[in-house]
């Protein structure tokens, strides 16, 4: 009971108490399932509980139902579109009758699976009269991974990240500024010093006015030496400000570029580590925009805007101190507009921030249109849809324009208002200054100095108001960058990876299930593959063959069950360690920009030339490579332009051969080429397959003749296993597939002859 209370923390306490009253003496509660839907599929709470003698359910209206455990009862569950159904069936009367059904969202799935498992055991115990065998090893109900004794939650399953990133996103950038903190501090101190130097000239105008010009105007002779001293002071201050400003700008520009580099490379590195699932859900244009523009924006913000802002604040502080030391009353009049401007900045901040975030998203939409259309240009042209694509681009641009227009309404009124306030501030100083001079409380020099100061003062406020937009833009960029950085790969590296010894290539899949979104793609799949065995995967398209291969490659992680290599769960070894044992040949081979030799050595960059040539020979690629003008040094492009499909495929076979993997996966490796080329490739493949565990998917069943076993899949399940002759004799799924293909071939042949 105590362990139950801890494992079901979401269960309301009142219900636990109520549940306890439902369990009679001599009975014990075994498992509970909290329901979050009722049978009309409305969100409401219910409860199913399993005790040693009965299964009970609390309906939404508070009524309880009870079934005593007896032979013939069975629990079944299935799910569709994110909701699951648990059904209590009765097989005792000959026909299957449904006694009850309960609905819940997949959030409760683990609890449901646990309940079913306990139910099956307990029912068996009740029927046989023997106490249920106590479990020696506890397995996670979802993924069947073994759990440590006393471990309630499976470490593999409970890694979903649901905590939102902090709102103080900008502070997280410190991670990138940290390595340059001393340079940044130097830059900051230089800024401070040069700011100080710019504050000297207005201060000197005060004595220049009061001690030189006004006495001269009042008839005294011109004091040239004093005037010269003040003027050289002005020149000196300007020179110092110039030198300091120069060094500062240089240092900060250096730092800025470095931070930008770090930000981009870190993000890209993280992006490379994310699973295919992430790339499947994101659009290329959006990711390119994030890594390109957004990092740039952040880096400018960090190294320039942020420092400027700090300087501005200091400048205002310093100026205020100087003003107060000269004339407190005049200083108060001067600083009066400051809170108003501060309030305005705050007001506009909110509007601008959301605005900029949305502009970024709309902008990503514009780039997405480009990223969609340019690679698909052949389709666009073939269907003569150029105009439609242009319209689509126009539409995205219109939305961008509309969003910008909306934001500019707020933005455009902002700067002029600051200017207006500056002018009004100056007016206040003039009025108050004249009034004070008239009463003899101040001098012309003081007023001149004040006017010179607040000229600068308000300029700073103006630039501070510009920082509002810079900060907001940087904050939204930061958020979008950290969206990538915070994304935990759904194929995570284990915390303590187990070392993977030299593997033999034995693969076993236990109760494997995989869900893509809310669609269940693979269900309850069990398969053992012996070392060196060749398995042919057969089935209609959409039957889950490619998904199964993706699970074996660990491009995705299983949602249920486990995939093991030599008995080791592939989730417990480092991803790179595991993948170095897997060779993959795809239907559409991808060649990177570079030489043929580089492309062959992609999986093993330190391969010697001899190894590369040997791999190419084995892949039957050597000869055609030599026929190219520059041999192995010939450049191949993005999609391997200039090479035929078969040639590209053989290069990719050489690539797989070179890493000498124990497990080889051929995903429709020969389906994109004609029969002649297929023969060539097939010869290359025969070399590749030798002595390796091979899993081949092929549309043309004839290419799987060499397979030791054929695995026929249908709608995510294995329906038949056996060799060609067995399966033909069984006249099942495979037979029908084969017949259908033979017919098509015959028709094609007839058509060809006619």
């Amino acid at each position: 009971m105590s362990s139950l209370a801890t494992s079901n923390t979401t269960l309301p306490n009142a219900w636990l108490a109520e549940a306890a009253t439902r369990i009679s003496a001599g009975d014990a509660l075994l498992a509970t399932l909290e329901l979050d839907l009722d049978n009309a599929l409305r969100f409401s709470r219910g409860l199913v509980l399993l005790s040693e003698h009965s299964l009970q359910a609390r309906e939404a209206n508070g009524e309880w139902q009870r079934w005593n455990l007896r032979a013939g009862l069975a629990l079944q569950h299935h799910d569709h579109a994110g909701i699951a159904t648990l059904e209590l069936m009765d097989n005792s009367t000959g026909t299957t009758t449904r006694l009850a059904a309960w609905r819940y969202t997949l959030e409760q799935n683990v609890a449901a699976l646990r309940l079913i498992e306990k139910f099956d055991k307990q029912l068996e115990a009740v029927i046989s009269g023997r106490p249920p065998e106590t479990e020696e090893v506890v397995a996670c109900p979802t993924c069947k991974a073994l759990l440590e004794p006393g471990q309630e939650e499976c470490p593999i399953c409970t890694r979903e990240l649901q905590t939102p990133p902090s709102t103080w996103t900008l502070f997280r950038l410190w991670r990138f500024a940290h390595p340059y903190r001393w340079k940044l501090l130097t830059g900051f101190l230089l800024t401070l010093a040069s700011t100080g130097a710019t504050l000297v000239p207005p201060y000197l105008t005060m004595p220049l006015m009061d001690n030189v010009l006004i006495p001269f105007q009042n008839g005294k002779p011109m004091n040239w030496s004093l005037a010269g001293m003040y003027l050289s002071g002005l020149l000196g201050a300007a020179a110092v400000a110039w030198v300091l400003g120069w060094i500062r700008t240089y240092i900060l520009a250096l730092v800025s570029e470095r931070i930008g580099r770090d930000l981009r490379t870190t993000t890209y590195k993280h992006l490379m580590g994310l699973s295919l699932e992430y790339f499947g859900g994101k659009r290329t244009g959006d990711l390119i925009a994030r890594i390109g523009n957004e990092t740039d924006r952040i880096n400018i913000f960090l190294s320039l805007d942020l420092l400027n802002f700090a300087t501005d604040v200091l400048m205002i502080g310093m100026t205020a101190v100087i003003l107060f030391s000269i004339d407190p009353w005049l200083a108060i009049a001067t600083l009066l507009p400051l809170p108003i401007i501060g309030w305005m900045i705050h007001f506009v901040r909110e509007k601008l921030r959301t605005g900029f975030e949305r502009i970024d998203r709309v902008w990503a939409e514009v780039t997405n249109v480009l990223a969609d259309t340019i690679p698909g240009i052949r389709v666009v042209k073939a269907f003569a849809q150029e105009k439609r694509e242009a319209d689509r681009f126009l539409e995205a641009n219109q939305r961008n324009l509309a969003m910008n227009d909306k934001l500019n309404k707020t933005w455009s009124i902002f700067t002029p208002t600051v200017t207006l306030l500056t002018e009004i501030g100056l007016l206040v100083v003039w009025v108050f200054g004249i009034w004070q001079i008239a009463h003899g409380a101040s001098t012309v020099g003081v007023l001149t100095a004040f006017l010179a100061y607040i000229g600068r003062f308000y300029t700073r406020l103006d630039s501070m108001s510009r920082i509002v937009s810079a900060t907001q833009r940087a904050a939204s960029s930061t958020k979008r960058i950290f969206d990538i950085l915070d994304h935990v790969s759904s194929v995570p590296e284990p915390v303590n990876p187990r070392p993977l010894p030299q593997v033999t290539g034995q693969i076993s899949m236990r109760d494997v299930g995989f869900r893509y979104g809310n669609r269940s793609v693979i269900r309850n799949l069990n398969l053992d593959i012996q070392p060196g065995e060749m398995i042919g995967l057969v089935g209609h398209s959409g039957s889950g063959k490619s998904t199964l291969v993706n699970l074996i490659c660990r491009f995705y992680d299983v949602t249920q069950g486990s995939v093991r290599i030599d008995g080791i769960d592939i989730r417990s070894v480092a991803v790179a360690d595991y993948r170095s044992n897997v060779g993959l040949v795809l239907q559409e081979p991808f060649l990177f920009f570079g030489t043929i030799a580089e492309n062959i050595a992609y999986g093993k960059p330190d391969a010697t030339r001899e190894e590369i040539v040997a791999a190419a020979r084995a892949a039957h690629a050597h000869e055609f490579i030599l026929r190219l003008p520059q041999g192995y040094d010939s450049l191949v492009g993005e999609r391997g332009q200039g090479l035929s499909g078969g040639e590209r495929q053989r290069i990719s076979i050489a690539r797989a051969l070179l890493i000498n993997p124990r497990i080889l996966i051929l995903d429709e490796a020969t389906s994109a080429v004609d029969t002649e080329t297929e023969k060539e490739i097939q010869k290359a493949l025969d070399n590749l397959v030798l002595g390796r565990t091979t899993i081949a998917i092929a549309h043309r069943l004839s290419t799987l003749r060499k397979a030791d076993r054929l695995v026929v899949m249908d709608r995510g399940e294995i329906v038949e296993i056996g060799n060609h002759d067995d399966l033909m004799a069984r006249e099942g799924h495979y037979f029908r597939l084969y017949q259908a293909q033979q017919r098509t071939h015959a028709e094609l042949a007839e058509g060809g002859e006619a």
Partner: protein, 154 residues
């Protein structure tokens, strides 16, 4: 017009008897355009995933068959309509939303903005972390508070 007859067996599964007398067990009705035209184009799928019958329009069926299909669909289809967004945990994703829906109040976890799909006529389709789809028929028709929250994610 009765090309088939639908009944339910004691196990709660649909049984479809075609006009030629063939009987299919465990039949599931599927909408072809669940969003764009829910009542047009329904297929009855066999357990093996093959189409048994095609229904142009739900209204063409006789009352008995339609009743069974609607009943079955009601038990399978789950797309709560969001009436109001009460609160969100953050404007950065993943974010937990407290919502009022046509099927009662609940919370959903939005994994990323890309899980919000735009539909014609200001509609939105929001997928939560468990793959449940929530529908907003017209976001302009939501109350001001919900609209403001929603704007931040679009």
């Amino acid at each position: 017009m009765s090309r088939f007859a639908l009944t339910r067996n004691p196990a709660g599964r649909l049984i479809c008897t075609l006009a030629d007398g063939t009987v299919h067990a465990n039949v599931t009705p599927v909408r072809a355009f669940p969003l764009a035209a829910p009542d047009e184009g329904l297929a009855l799928m066999s357990q093996e995933g093959h189409e048994i019958a095609w229904i142009e329009n739900l209204a063409d069926l006789d009352a008995a068959n339609r009743g069974v299909i609607e009943d079955e669909l009601a038990g399978r289809e789950f797309m709560p309509e969001i009436r109001r967004i009460a609160e969100v945990s953050s404007f950065a994703t993943p974010s937990t939303w407290q919502i009022e829906t046509s099927r009662g109040n609940t919370a959903l976890v939005l994994k990323g903005e890309e899980d919000i799909r735009r539909l014609p006529d200001n509609g939105l389709l929001i997928a939560d972390n468990h793959g449940i789809l929530y529908l907003i028929r017209d976001r302009k028709a939501l109350d001001r508070h919900s609209r403001k929250i929603l704007e931040r994610f679009l």
